[in-house]
């Protein structure tokens, strides 16, 4: 074997090994994060954490129950607001629209998707908080819902289009009208993908912090109803992590662990749903 060839082979082996190292480094970050949060925050994920509200500054023993509920309420609002718009908008794009309108709508959705979350926060402040002179769960839910729209829209459209044409034609051959075809054949055929899209959109906004800074503000108590400021898990993590109190750090890690596990579980479930089957009509 010539020296040159030996060198080339060595380079090849070396570089390819390096790529393996890169891959391992990248993947290990995930376990580093999970591990760190589990070790430092695991112990603090206790009964207090889930049932108590924060105690005065400097005292110990409080929890983040109000933040958990606040996040849940805002995510519920976000889903109720963002998913229908994304879902029905996707139906329009996939089934009804002409190519010009479709282009405009898709372009707008992509634009919205690319907006940095802090700018969404500015927008939600100007639209909901400022005119009504009130920080609120509603405003937070609105901001998060805005972020869910593009993800839901594009994914759902993709899955609707992915339904094979023979299914549509069969339905029409049986005399079904367009809307009936959509409702009883196409959507059910794509429901796995649509569900996945919704879950992924949900997981994406569950961890968002920046838009909540200007919309939900915060609350050390339970937030009554929907029109008052509320605490949320990501904002509390942010606040507690930067503070000097050790007790707050522990709670930040615990909250981070809970939030991360929740998001990861949703992601895993979503992918599992998708991979279990392709477009198969529900019987």
């Amino acid at each position: 074997m010539s020296p040159r060839l030996r060198w080339r082979k060595f380079v090849s082996g070396f570089m390819l090994t390096m790529t393996g190292v890169c891959a391992m480094v990248a993947v290990s970050v995930l376990f580093l994060i999970l591990g760190y949060l589990a070790i430092h925050g695991g112990a603090s994920v206790n009964w207090n954490f889930f049932t108590k509200v924060p105690v005065p500054v400097g005292e110990t023993g409080g929890g983040l129950a109000n933040a958990i509920l606040g996040s849940a309420k805002m995510l519920l609002l976000a889903t109720l607001f963002g998913v229908p718009i994304g879902f029905f908008g996707a139906i329009y794009l996939a089934e009804f629209s002409g190519s010009a309108t479709a282009f405009v709508v898709r372009y707008a959705a992509d634009l919205l998707n690319g907006v940095p979350s802090i700018v969404i926060g500015i927008f939600a402040y100007g639209l909901v908080v400022h005119p009504f002179k009130q920080y609120s769960t509603l405003a937070g839910g609105f901001a998060l819902g805005l972020m869910m729209i593009p993800i839901t829209l594009r994914s759902t459209e993709g899955f609707l289009r992915g339904v094979p044409n023979p299914l549509r034609e069969a339905a029409m051959a049986l005399g079904a009208s367009k809307w009936k075809t959509i409702a009883t054949v196409i959507v059910p055929a794509a429901y796995r993908g649509i569900l996945t899209a919704i879950l992924l959109a949900f997981a994406r906004v569950a961890g968002e912090t920046a838009p909540l800074l200007f919309t939900a503000l915060g609350n050390q108590f339970w937030s009554p109803g929907w029109t008052h400021p509320t605490a949320s898990l990501p904002v509390m993590i942010y606040t507690y992590a930067l503070a000097p109190y050790d007790d707050w750090h522990r709670q930040a890690w615990a909250a981070g662990l809970v939030l991360l596990v929740l998001i990861l579980v949703i992601n895993i479930v979503a992918r599992a749903i998708l991979s279990r089957g392709i477009a198969v009509p529900r019987s």
Partner: protein, 342 residues
Amino acid sequence: MKRIAGMLLVALAVAGVLWADSALSITGAGATFPYPMYSKWFDEYHKKNSNLEINYQSIGSGGGIKQVTEGTVDFGATDGPMNDDQLKAYQDKHGFGILHFPTVLGADVPAYNIPGVTAELNFTQDAIAGIFLGKITKWDDPAIAGPNKGVNLPANDIVVVHRSEGSGTTYIWTDYLSKVSEEWKTKVGKGASVNWPVGLGAKGNESVAGTIKNTPNSFGYVELIYAIQNNMPYGRVRNSSGVFVKADLASVTAAAAGASKNMPDDFRVSITDAPGKTAYPISSFTWLLVPAKFSDTTKRDAIKGFVKWMLADGQNYTEALSYAKLPKEVVEKELKALNSVQ
């Protein structure tokens, strides 16, 4: 599966609606300087009045002034009193004015984190001004070492930490520096948010304390209780009489002695660099900003009720958190002023 999800949704919605009217929720925002005190107060007050939740968010004095002017919160809190322009802006926007109500007396202390140094350092006015102006860059500089003979100060770079947002604590600190350093006054000036010559920015007293705690060779200003609660060393400051004074209840109260006799009607007063041998020179009142008029009378009565309680029973909680009580004359004057809130 779908049915369960549907029922869960309905249950949540019902719970949300039912929750809607269970408590009167009032929102206030502003200074981080008195946040440990306010969080204790509002917690205690809620225990006594379970139907009332006063939600206070510590976003900084600048935020408090802005949000109460915008009307997005019901009351504000600040350690840097609103200036005439800000008062006028409020008046123009709402058609009525806004009132300052002092709540406690506190102090900005110079906190530091010097590896190997646990002693209480003495800081002259020039030393503090020099460090924050960026002229004094090392811990063993004669300006610092001079009054601290016997302490082994390392030749390390000083890491200055200040507030990144509009802060009353900053106002108090820069107000003091403007009084004791001509150079500071002309170069930087006083305000809630200044153009800092040097240093790292951190958000809120909490984060400044956190940063100092974690950064060796750092130096910054925090409200007294933050240094105490986090076991951080803080120094003595030389007052106008030349005495190195440590911030505590006595020295802060002494600083307010002169002002309380001559308290202006709107309660806006500065007590930094106060005269008196035992006075701590970087002390200050901190204020609640209460609109002069409320359209919602339940909110108005709730807030007035709280202020009354704060001026009476509330004052008994202050010393445990190292905030000094309000002088008697100030309390009486405030109770009178409270009547003008409609």
